[in-house]
């Protein structure tokens, strides 16, 4: 081999080395932005921990208020059961026991914690079909609860009567939904801040008649401003008026059909880019649905007669006091247009 050929080979070797080093740099840069050691599922398996967010505001029967038991702090409800099912399936998938660390945070903060990757997912009766720019970047599992929707409750029977009468007599009676919206025009309506009802109000109602409440209990107790109706999730409102706030009533049409403004399905919320985790959670929910267990879980929480403290003591998920607001307050209500 001549000297010229040798030189060519040397140049090629040096070039190859430089190129491969460059590749290394590119790979390093990518790894810096997003570690390639594992996807989100592998990451959960590696740390043997699932960080699950749950709303600190009770959304009975999906999330009951946190209580104290013989075993310490516990949280329970249908959504808590789902978190346990997901962690059980993760344990099988990972081949090691995956523990759940519950992050009990205020509802609007769930989205923030997920954005900041402090939690892997959250479950708190979140409707997957709420169009809002504030929901960009989040993705939803297949529904675990169907047939929800925004409903209305009131403490005053005359208001329920007036709404019914307006819908019946309104000029828009052929367009039922438009008639329903129009029937609410002069009522002071309470919605929970950051929830689907808030997003609905922003998009569909006159905000000068809307009162923003930090939580549902705050709406129930609001005296200044004194609200006429509460707009919220049908199954939550049904549970509240039938078991907790019996002096309130669901606004219904003749025959008992609830006055609904939307249709909602509830899903587990995850980061948009976490495709593998989303497939995994979808599989878990699909299997639960197919086996009939999910329907049984729904019946158990939504229809059975029970007292949640006993269930919390027997089967609730524990959480560390540091993972809950130190002083959870139901908050207050104020006019949506107030600065």
């Amino acid at each position: 081999m001549g000297a010229e050929a040798m030189m060519t080979i040397r140049i090629l070797i040096i070039a190859a080395a430089l190129v491969s080093q460059g590749c290394g740099l590119i790979i390093d840069a990518v790894q810096f932005i997003r570690p390639m050691a594992a996807d989100e599922l592998e990451s959960i398996c590696a740390r043997k921990t699932l960080h699950a967010g749950i709303a600190a505001e009770p959304l009975r029967p999906f999330v009951f208020p946190a209580i104290f038991t013989d075993e310490g702090l516990r949280i329970t409800g249908l959504d808590v059961d789902l978190v346990r099912e997901i962690s059980r399936a993760l344990s099988e998938r990972c081949g090691v026991s995956v523990n759940v660390i519950v992050h009990l945070v205020h509802f609007p903060s769930l989205f923030v914690e997920l954005s900041e990757q402090k939690i892997d997912l959250f479950v708190s009766a979140v409707a997957s079909n709420v169009p809002s720019p504030t929901r960009a970047g989040f993705a939803y599992s297949i529904p675990y609860f169907y047939g929800g929707g925004l409903a209305i409750i009131t403490q005053r029977p005359e208001i329920a009567d007036r709404i019914r009468e307006r819908v019946r007599a309104g000029p828009d009676h052929a367009n039922h939904l438009a008639a329903q919206k129009a029937a609410l025009y002069d009522f002071l309506i309470a919605v929970q801040k950051g929830s689907g009802s808030h997003r609905y109000a922003e998009a569909q109602l006159h905000m000068d008649r809307v009162v923003l409440c930090d939580s549902l209990p705050a709406a129930f107790e609001s005296e200044d401003p004194s609200i006429d109706i509460i707009l919220g999730k049908l199954p939550v409102l049904q549970h509240m008026v039938s078991r907790v706030r019996k002096n309130w009533q669901l606004v219904t049409f003749e025959g008992g059909k609830p006055f609904l403004l939307t249709s909602e399905n509830y899903s587990v919320v995850m980061a948009e880019e976490n495709y593998r985790l989303r497939w995994f959670v979808n599989d878990v929910l699909f299997e639960l649905e197919q086996s009939g267990r999910l329907a049984k879980m729904r019946r158990r929480w939504l229809e059975d007669d029970y007292a949640y403290p006993r269930r919390a003591a027997a089967e609730g998920l524990s959480f560390a006091p540091d993972n809950m607001p130190r002083q959870h307050d139901q908050g207050t209500c104020r006019a949506a247009t107030a600065r």
Binding site: P58, P65, A66, I67, F68, T69, D70, E71, G72, L73, S215, P217, A218, E221, Y306, A307, Y308, P309, R310, R311, A312, A313, P321, M324, P325, R326, Q327, H328, D329, Q330
Partner: protein, 248 residues
């Protein structure tokens, strides 16, 4: 074998056989007995403090309740002082042994830690019943204390709501003997061939307890458990203490 401990051991067991109340330990039986009595009294004082603050704790209209760990300690020390004439706030006020004082302090700290953990639940506004009651406080405080000492402290009853409070054979025997007994004092025995001292201090239902444990029997109480159908003054259970007497 070093002959000295052997001699001590045989003397101690000889004493045990003769008197039935002496065992080989750093803490003599009488001191262990007094320590056990005081530990049970202190735990029951903590239960009483929680009971006294129940209305405040379950007030749904109030956020921060002011029932802080320090406030709990203040009330606990006061209640214990009232019941035992021992002022835990004043180290030099009584002739408690170092061991006893140390154990009582561990229990005070355990109780404070329970109240500290429960702050988030206690201070929820908009939520009434929070299940932070004498029984749940007592279970957690006893468990935390037992984890930090060699002394085992437990609440027990013949038909417990929590299976972890199921009585063992000794506790069951004593609990049965306590039913219908007019003497409300504690019962203690040296067991395990002098290896441990056991003491059970009975707890009786007061009027406040009957809201959950009273009548009609079988009706579900606020926490979802069937009521026991108890009457005021009935035996509710006992605080059980087990102190090892033998050096390890």
């Amino acid at each position: 074998m070093n002959p000295i401990p052997s001699i001590l051991l045989s003397i101690s067991f000889g004493g045990l056989l003769l008197a039935g109340t002496i065992a080989y330990a750093d803490m003599p039986v009488l001191e262990a007995q007094e320590t056990a009595r005081l530990l049970a009294l202190l735990l029951d004082s903590g239960r009483e403090v929680v009971k006294r603050n129940q209305e405040l704790i379950d007030n749904p209209r109030k956020g921060h309740k002011g029932f802080t760990p320090d406030e709990f300690e203040r009330q606990l020390v006061e209640e214990f002082h009232r019941r035992s004439d021992i002022d835990l706030a004043n180290n030099s006020s009584t002739a408690l042994s170092t061991n006893t004082r140390k154990l009582l302090n561990v229990l005070v700290q355990a109780g404070k830690a329970v109240v500290s953990d429960a702050q988030a639940v206690i201070n929820q506004r908009g939520v009434g019943y929070k299940n932070f009651v004498p029984a749940t406080f007592g279970s957690q405080a006893a468990w935390r204390f037992s984890a930090k000492s060699e002394v085992r402290l437990k609440q027990t009853t013949l038909n417990p709501r929590n299976v972890k409070n199921q009585p063992d054979a000794y506790e069951e025997q004593v609990l049965r003997s306590l039913i219908g007994r007019s003497d409300r004092s504690a019962i203690s025995d040296v067991v395990d061939n002098g290896g441990a001292l056991r003491l059970l201090t009975p707890i009786y239902y007061s009027k406040d307890c009957l809201q959950c444990h009273g009548q009609p029997v079988g009706e579900l109480d606020i926490s979802g458990y069937p009521k026991e159908g108890a009457l005021e003054g009935d035996l509710a259970g006992a605080i059980s203490v087990r102190i090892p007497l033998r050096e390890k």
